[in-house]
Subunit: 685 residues, 2 copies
C-alpha cells in the first residue's frame, strides 16, 4: 500500500469532495467498479442503512452504466468477498451533538466503512459516491483513507413553504440533496402572512381558510419527518407568531389585535396583523395546535418565529394597552416576551424546547431557548451581534445571517461567513453554544419551478462551512468542487440546471433558446430584495416564469470573464486575450440572433434592451481591442454604453459591467493612450 | 362579428388545438390578455372549478408574463365586466357516458363558457389555453365559437407502477397532462411480479414483503383519487391475478400453486408463479384486499388483470388437477374463469363491476364485465378480434392494442388506429359497446426519470383519436399541433423534454452535450421489446440513465430528414438539397466533436460507433453529392457503411438508414449513373 497524506487541504488535489473531510489520505491504487460490486452490512441493518445502501447502488449504477448483479445490500455473513463492508455500533438518534463521524477506507480490493451510528454510515456512503472517478475505460474508487466528523452539530436548511407552497416532492428531493452534502436539520417554515400550511384537526379553519387549499396533511407531514429521519435529518417546524400571522387571523380573526377583516396576504413584506397576547383564546388555539404538532414532530426543538413584530396593532388596541399597564409591561417587546414565555411553558409540557428568531432573546427568556441569529449589518446590527450575545448569555444559538440564499448573492459571500471566525472573544464554553448555522430559503420570489436553482448549488458550499474545518477557505478549490457537486445533484432529482431551459422555452414560445442561454450566463437576478422593492411588485400569484427566473446567482460566463480579465491584467497573455475576444464575439452577435425570435414572443420585447446593450458594448470593445490606437469616440461610446448596461432591466443586471470597465482600463494602458481624455476615461471607470 | 366556419378540419388553419373539437368557427377579431383579466363563475363553484380556474390563471400568467390583478376566479355577481363568464348546470359524476360537452365563445370583449357539468368547464378552459396566440406586442385569444364533446367516453392512460415504482408526483403531473388533452380514465396497474404497490391493512405482508418498501399508503391513494377527481378523471385500479402475482406470493406463498420459495421478480417477462384458484385462502386474502380497495376507489370498475396465465404450476399441482376433475373443469382457461367468476362475485358485493384483460372473456363471464382488448397481430390474433368479439357478445369493451406506447413506435402508428374503423361489420348497438381506448405505459424499461418521455407527447395524439371525430386523420396537421402541445406540457411539470439533457450530462460526465444531442435527434430506442430480448438483459435495478434512455420515438431530425428527402425526390429543388447538405454536414462533423468527450467518460466508449458510423456515411454521401460522377468505390463505401448503421448499437438504432438509402437512389438517378454497377446498388437499396 502506498499512501501519501494530503496535509490539511491541497488546492491541486483531484478529489471533488464537498464538504471536505477532516482527514484525507490518498493512495495510488484503485478499486474498479464492476458488475460483481456488493455491499455487506456486518451489523444488523436499520431502515436508514437499507434506504442508503439501495439508493447508493442505484446511483452508482446510474452514473457508471454498470449493470450490477445485486441491487441491494445483504446482511448475510455468508457473502464472501463483498466489495464494501459496513460496520456500525448503533442507530443514531436525531438530536444535537449526536455522533456523526465515520471512517472510510478504500484499498484496491475492499472498501471498509466504520461508524458509531448508522448516520455516520450514510455520510460515508455519500463521500464514497463523491470519490467515483474514471480513467479511459472504467470507473473506479481511488485508494483512500478518510476520517471525518462535523465541526458543527447544526447544519440546517430552512425552506419557507408559506409565501409559495412547495409540494412534497420538492421537499423530498431537497432532503436527498441535504443528505448528499451532510446537512442534518430541515427547518420547515410552515406559516406566515401568506399561508398556513399545516392540517389542523383541532382547529381545521386554520388550513381550510388560511392556505388556499395548499397545505400538508398530517399524513404527509409524518411522511416527510420519516423521510428526513431515514436520511439522518432532523425536522424543526416553525409556526411564526405573533407577527407574520395574517393567515392564522384569516381563519380566527377573534384572536387578532385589531377588530377587522383579515385575508391571506398576497404581497411580500412586514405586515401589521398580530396575534393578541392578552387573549386566552390565542393560547387555547396555539396550545391545541402545538399539541397536534408535538405528536407529528419528534424533534426537541420547536420554532415559534417571533421576528419582525412591530406591535402597531397592539398600540392601537385599548384592551392591550390596559393589560400592559395592569401587568407592568412597559414595552411591546416585553409584551411579546410575556407571550413567548407562555408559549414556552406550553411547549415544555410537550417536552419541547423553544427556538425562535433572535427577537425572543429577552431578560426573562429561559436559557433552554435556542436563539436563531439572523440580523446583520443590513438590519443595523453589528455582524453576529445576537449570535455572540446569545452565546455569552448562556443560550445555544444558530447563525443564519450570512446564509440568506434568497438574496441571490454570489456563493463566495456565504462561503466565507464563519459562525465562529478566527478572531473572536468567546470562551470555549461560549463557542460550544454556537451549534452551527442554517441557510434560509425565503420563498417570496420562488415557485417549485425555480426554488432548487435558488438553493443549489450555493447551499453545498454553506454545508461545507458547517461541516469542514474552518481552515478550508480556498475559493478556487470551492468553485471547482462545487461545479461537480452541482451537476451530481441532478442524480437526486434537483432541477436547478434543467429548469432553466424550461423557462427559456416558455419565454421564447418554443423557439431556439440559444441566444437567451447566452444572456442567462451573464445576467443575474437583482439582489437583496431589490427585485421586489417594497414587496408590492410581485404578488404570490404573479408569474415566476420570466427571464429573471431563468437566471441565477454566479452567472457562469461572468465568472469566467472575470477570471480572464484578471489573468489578462496580470499576464497580458495573448491566449487569454483570444479567449476574451471569443466571449466578446459571442456577445456581440447576440442581438442579431435574439432579433430573429422577437416576432414569436411578445415577452421578449422587455428583454430586448439586455441583448442590444450587451451586443453594442461588446462590439465597441472588440473595435477598441482591434485598433492600434482607438479613437476618442470609441471610448466615449463605451462609457455611454456602460451607463446603459449598469441599469437593471426586467429584474436582472448584466453582471459583467465591472469587468468590462476593468478590461477597458487595461486596454487604455496597453494602447499607451496618454492624452488627457484617456486618463479621464480610466479614472471615471 | 365576422366569423367563417372551418368546415370539418382545415390543414392550413392556425389553431393548435389537440384534441381537435367537434366544431370550430373562427372569427377575425381578438381579445387581448391584460392585467384586468378576470373569471366569474355564475353558478355556485365546485372544488373542481376552483382548482381548474386557479390553475388556469396561473398558467395563463406564466406563459404570457402578464401580472394579473386577480389570482382567483370569483363567484360574486357584483363583479362587473368579467373577462370570462362560466355557467354550468351541475357537478359531473365520474362514470361512463357522463356529459363532458362544452360550448366556448370568444368575442373581442368577452369569453363565455357553458357546460352541463363542471367537467365540461375543465375541458373548455383547457381548450381556451390552447387558443392563446400572440402578435408582435401582446397575447390574445382569437374570436372563436367552439362546440365540443367526446366521441368516446373512455379515454384512458394505464400506468404500470409495479415494474418500476412511480412516485406520487409523477402520477400527479401525468394526471394534469391527461386533463390537458381531455383524457378521463387513469388505469392504475398496481401489482405485478415485480411489485405489490398498495398498503394493505388487512394483509400488511403484501406491501411489507412485496414492494421493496415502494408502495402507496392508503392516504396517498385517496390523495391521488381526489386529485384525479378534481380533474374529471376516473381511477380504475388493477390487481393482476392469477398470473403476474409473484409479489403477492412473496408475501403469501401458501396461496401459490407450487410449494416453493417465491421472491420479488427482478427480470421482465411472463413468469410461472400463479395463485391457487382452488385454495379458499386465496379468496380470503383477495376478498379482504378488494374490500379495502373498494373503499379507496369510488369507481364502478375494478380491473382484475387475468392476462398471460399459462397455468404451468397448475399442471404440476396434483391437488389442482384433482379439483379440475372433480368439478369437470377441462382446461386451465376454464379454471381461470372459475376464479374470475368468484372474484366477480366478491366485487359485486362491493358494488363493483369486473374489468379484465381479454383473456377473462369466456362463456360463463357475465356481460357486466368490461373486456380490455390488448392482443393484436403480434400475439397471433387478428387486429381487434377480441374487441369486436366482445362487442358482439354483449360486453362493453375498451381497446389497448395499437396504443402500447412502451413499444417505442412512432406516433403515427398509434394515431391512425381507430377503435371503430370506418369499415366494420358492427351494428349501432355493438358500436356503442366500444367505450373507447387506453394507452398503456408498461414500465419494464422506464423510471421516474424517463417515463414522461415515453408517455408524451405521443399520448396526446392518442387522446385526439379518443376524443375527436374519426375524420380527423391529417398526419401533417397532427405533427404540427403535437409539437406545440408537447412543449406546453412542460407548464404542467411534464419532464419529457428537460430530462433528455439530464441523462446526457450524466453520460458525458458533465462535458459539452451538444454532440450527443445531435445523436439523440437521429437515434431511437429499439422497438417492440427488442431492447430487452427475453426480458433478461435489464433487471428492475439496472441503470436507465443511458443513451437509449435519452432517445425517444419520433427522433426529430430523422423526421425532418425524411420529409426533406421525400420533397427532394419529388421536386429536385436546390434549396431542399441545401438543407439536406446542411444536415449531412452536421452529422459528418459529429465524430470529431464526440471524440473530444471520450476521455471524460467511459460510458461513451459504447456509443462511439454510433457517432463514427453516422459521420462516415454522411461524409460519403456529401462526397457523392458533390461529385459530378461519383466513383464506384464511393457507392461501395456507402453500401458498406449502410450495413453498419443498420445494426443496433447500445439499444438504439440510427433511424435515418432508410432515407439515406432513398437519397442515394435519387442521386444515382440524378447523376445519370447508367452502368450495371449503379443499377445494382440502386436495386440493393
Amino acid at each position: 500500500m502506498s499512501l501519501f497524506a494530503i496535509s490539511g487541504f491541497s488546492q491541486t488535489n483531484s478529489l471533488n469532495l464537498m464538504p471536505w473531510p477532516q482527514e484525507v489520505i490518498l493512495g495510488s491504487s484503485i478499486l474498479e467498479i464492476k458488475p460483481d460490486f456488493t455491499i455487506l452490512v456486518l451489523t444488523k441493518s436499520t431502515k436508514r442503512i437499507d434506504v442508503a445502501t439501495t439508493k447508493f447502488i442505484n446511483r452508482l449504477g446510474g452514473r457508471t452504466g454498470v449493470f450490477f448483479e445485486n441491487g441491494f445490500a445483504v446482511s448475510n455473513n455468508e457473502l464472501k468477498n463483498a466489495t464494501v463492508e459496513i460496520s456500525y455500533k448503533r442507530a443514531g438518534e436525531l438530536k444535537i451533538n449526536e455522533d456523526e463521524s465515520y471512517q472510510l477506507q478504500v484499498s484496491s480490493t475492499k472498501i471498509t466503512i466504520n461508524a458509531t451510528t448508522d448516520i455516520g454510515v450514510i455520510y460515508a456512503l455519500e463521500t464514497l459516491l463523491q470519490l467515483v472517478d474514471n480513467n479511459l475505460n472504467s470507473y473506479y474508487f481511488p485508494e483512500v483513507e478518510i476520517n471525518d466528523s462535523p465541526r458543527f452539530t447544526w447544519r440546517g436548511l430552512m425552506i419557507d413553504v408559506a409565501r409559495h407552497f412547495q409540494p412534497i416532492d420538492v421537499l423530498k428531493r431537497n432532503l436527498d440533496a441535504m443528505a448528499a452534502v451532510k446537512m442534518n436539520v430541515f427547518h420547515w417554515h410552515l406559516t406566515d402572512d401568506q399561508g398556513f400550511r399545516i392540517e389542523s384537526k383541532t382547529h381545521p379553519k386554520l388550513h381550510q381558510l388560511g392556505s388556499d387549499g395548499l397545505y400538508y396533511t398530517q399524513e404527509q407531514i409524518k411522511d416527510i419527518v420519516q423521510y428526513a429521519s431515514d436520511r439522518g435529518i432532523r425536522v424543526v417546524p416553525e409556526v411564526d407568531v405573533p407577527g407574520h400571522a395574517t393567515a392564522i387571523l384569516t381563519a380566527y380573526p377573534e384572536i387578532g389585535s385589531k377588530d377587522t377583516i383579515y385575508s391571506i396576504e398576497r404581497f411580500s413584506g412586514i405586515f401589521d396583523p398580530t396575534l393578541d397576547p392578552t387573549n386566552e383564546k390565542t393560547y387555547k388555539i396555539l396550545g391545541d395546535l402545538f399539541g397536534e404538532m408535538a405528536a407529528l414532530f419528534p424533534d426537541t426543538y420547536f420554532h415559534i418565529g417571533g421576528d419582525e413584530n412591530e406591535g402597531k396593532h397592539w398600540d392601537e388596541n385599548q384592551k392591550i394597552q390596559e393589560f400592559k399597564r395592569k401587568n407592568n409591561i412597559n414595552s411591546n417587546h416585553h409584551l411579546q416576551t410575556f407571550m413567548n414565555i407562555r408559549l414556552q411553558e406550553i411547549l415544555a409540557k410537550h417536552g419541547k424546547s423553544v427556538m425562535g428568531w433572535e427577537e425572543i432573546m429577552t431578560d426573562n427568556m429561559p436559557t433552554s431557548a435556542l436563539i436563531h441569529s439572523w440580523k446583520g449589518s443590513n438590519q443595523g446590527d453589528m455582524l453576529k451581534s445576537s449570535l455572540f450575545k446569545a452565546a455569552k448569555n448562556g443560550y445555544n444559538t444558530v447563525l443564519s445571517n450570512g446564509y440568506y440564499i434568497d438574496l441571490m448573492q454570489p456563493v463566495i459571500n456565504h462561503y466565507l461567513v464563519d459562525p465562529i471566525p478566527k478572531n473572536n472573544n468567546l470562551s470555549e464554553l461560549e463557542k460550544a453554544r454556537i451549534l452551527g448555522g442554517e441557510a434560509t430559503m425565503w420563498s417570496e420570489l420562488v415557485t417549485n419551478l425555480t426554488i432548487d436553482s435558488r438553493i443549489w448549488p450555493r447551499t453545498a458550499a454553506i454545508a461545507e462551512r458547517f461541516w469542514s474545518s474552518g481552515d478550508i477557505v480556498d475559493v478556487l478549490s470551492m468553485y471547482k468542487r462545487l461545479d461537480v457537486v452541482s451537476f451530481r445533484l441532478e442524480e437526486l432529482g434537483i432541477t436547478h440546471i434543467r429548469n432553466r431551459d424550461v423557462i427559456l422555452r416558455n419565454i421564447t414560445n418554443n423557439q431556439n433558446i440559444e441566444p437567451l442561454v447566452t444572456l442567462t450566463k451573464v445576467c443575474e437576478p437583482l439582489k437583496n430584495y431589490s427585485r421586489n422593492a417594497g414587496g408590492t411588485e410581485y404578488k404570490t400569484y404573479s408569474p415566476f416564469t420570466l427571464f429573471a427566473d431563468a437566471c441565477t446567482a454566479d452567472a457562469s460566463d461572468a465568472i469566467i470573464f472575470k477570471e480572464l480579465v484578471n489573468d489578462f491584467s496580470l499576464t497580458k497573455n495573448e491566449n487569454i486575450k483570444a479567449e476574451i475576444v471569443s466571449l466578446l464575439k459571442k456577445w456581440a452577435s447576440n442581438y442579431s440572433q435574439f432579433s430573429q425570435l422577437k416576432k414569436g414572443s411578445p415577452i421578449l420585447n422587455n428583454i430586448e434592451p439586455l441583448s442590444k446593450n450587451l451586443s453594442e458594448i461588446s462590439t465597441t470593445l472588440l473595435s477598441i481591442l482591434n485598433s492600434k490606437k482607438p479613437t476618442k469616440s470609441e471610448y466615449e461610446n463605451f462609457n455611454q454604453q456602460l451607463l446603459q448596461i449598469e441599469k437593471p432591466i426586467e429584474d436582472v443586471e448584466l453582471i459583467i459591467a465591472k469587468d468590462l470597465k476593468k478590461l477597458v482600463a487595461i486596454l487604455i494602458d496597453e494602447k499607451k493612450g496618454s492624452d488627457n481624455f484617456l486618463e479621464k476615461v480610466k479614472k471615471s471607470n
